[in-house]
Amino acid sequence: MQSSAIRKLIIALACTGACSAAQADVVIVVAANNPVGNMSKDQIAQIFTGKAVAFPDGRKAVPIEQGPTSPTRSEFHVKVTGKDAAQLKAYWSKVIFSGAGQPPREVGSADEMRKAVSSDANAIGYLEKSQIDSSLKVILTP
């Protein structure tokens, strides 16, 4: 927690506008053929916490997470759901142990995320901006 804050500070100090590309930029993606348009941070947070189950057009939305050690995952949650790792764990504990549901499926790498999202018109995931290709569509840059 503290070391990542320090790292961010160092990056912030080192970067003076020109090198902003060096900073990680998480983007929320769906398959290129998914008809959904841009979505708000709240709508995406609701899907990733199981509070909403569909895209705004009513089609089922299947969120996909990266693994617990992924820095992209922490960046996504800090920016979108507003929860750190412990808060997210506490949140899912309440959902699991009340029998209301299960957390989203996890994939082991950015590569797997790209494959899982691009091959499924119901999937929604997140990647670093540098990791996307034409098989994916960005619906939010938080």
Binding site: K51, A52, V53, A54, G82, I96, F97, G99, A100
Partner: protein, 399 residues
Amino acid sequence: MKHRIRSLALALMACGAASSHADDNTFKLSGFGTLAATHSTEANADFVSRNVPNGPGHSREWDTLMDSKLGLQGDIRFNDQLSVAVQAIAFKRYDNGFYPDITAAHVRYEAYPGLAVRVGRMAMPIYLVSDYRRAGYALPWFSPPVEFYGNGFFHYDGADLTWKTPLGEWAMTTQAYTGHSKFRNPDRGFFSANQIFGAAVTAEKGDHTLRASITNAKMKVTSTIDPLLAAYRTAATSASVAVADNYAVNDLSTTFVSLGYMYTPGDWLVMAELGKTHTEREALLAEQTLGYITIGYRLGSVTPYVTLARRDTSTANSVQGVVPSLDASLNSAIAAGDVSQTRTSLGARWDFMTNVAFKTQFDHVNLDSGSAGGLVNRQPGFTRGGSYNLLSVAVDFVF
């Protein structure tokens, strides 16, 4: 029973081992636990946080079993629609033993995305955190506010229907449930809630969660005044039988309503609930008004919080000219059932490692005049209407 639970747990684990090589989501074993200790300054009675026969205070200086527990849950997913969940929690029981109870065993069928039905045994969803109140790691407090969550109705057997739908920018969850529930009281046999019908609506947007619920059930409870009521019945006048019928909690229609609010923007934490209990006729603890508010603020991995809670109970006790030799005793026995109190707590949660949290809480409890505040094993030296403090520590974990 114990054998059945053990073989169930073994079967679940064997199942987990068998499917753990596959990367599909067919079986998942998870669990939670709490190691807790509580000290009370009231030496002439025991504080109990729920349905147990004794606790810290008179029986012991520090109680390490009352809030300690170990829960295990197996989730089997057959496909996108169908899944099964079984949960067992070992904790201190009504008979002072520490052994597991099957707290959930249900089939869940998601007919359409967002519309799910569950059948079997499930946690009672009466209040905001009712259905996960034993999973300490999921709660900000040392333990859930005793004013709301001290009762023994933890799970019910029946069915529920959950419907998730957006309403503008709000994510709405509507739940309807029905069934029956019972638990064993330490010294008064089984308490039951039959013909439970309830509904809850949860609205979530950004960092705000609002929840409203209403539950009605036919309560059947052996109450402390039952021996006196038997004497009224024996007196056999129409007025005395009416008193016996009226005050007996026997298929007594009871309605629980509540409003809950949660604000969780990351650093701040606000949780508040208001509850009202109403019975169709005057009975012991007929009217209850409950409320609490918790405000916390996160400083790195530590979240200190403060809670203010209130429980107000009232029962009309003006039985007069029915059985002259008994009326005064009945009125004072009814008054003795008062558990009104005000509680102020200071606590902190420290997320010191992955999946493990340390918690500590200090409570100052003020009993209303004449109230025993739910304290049990009251000794001759106990004075109603006093105050006492609790100090608690706990380690909560999930896996």
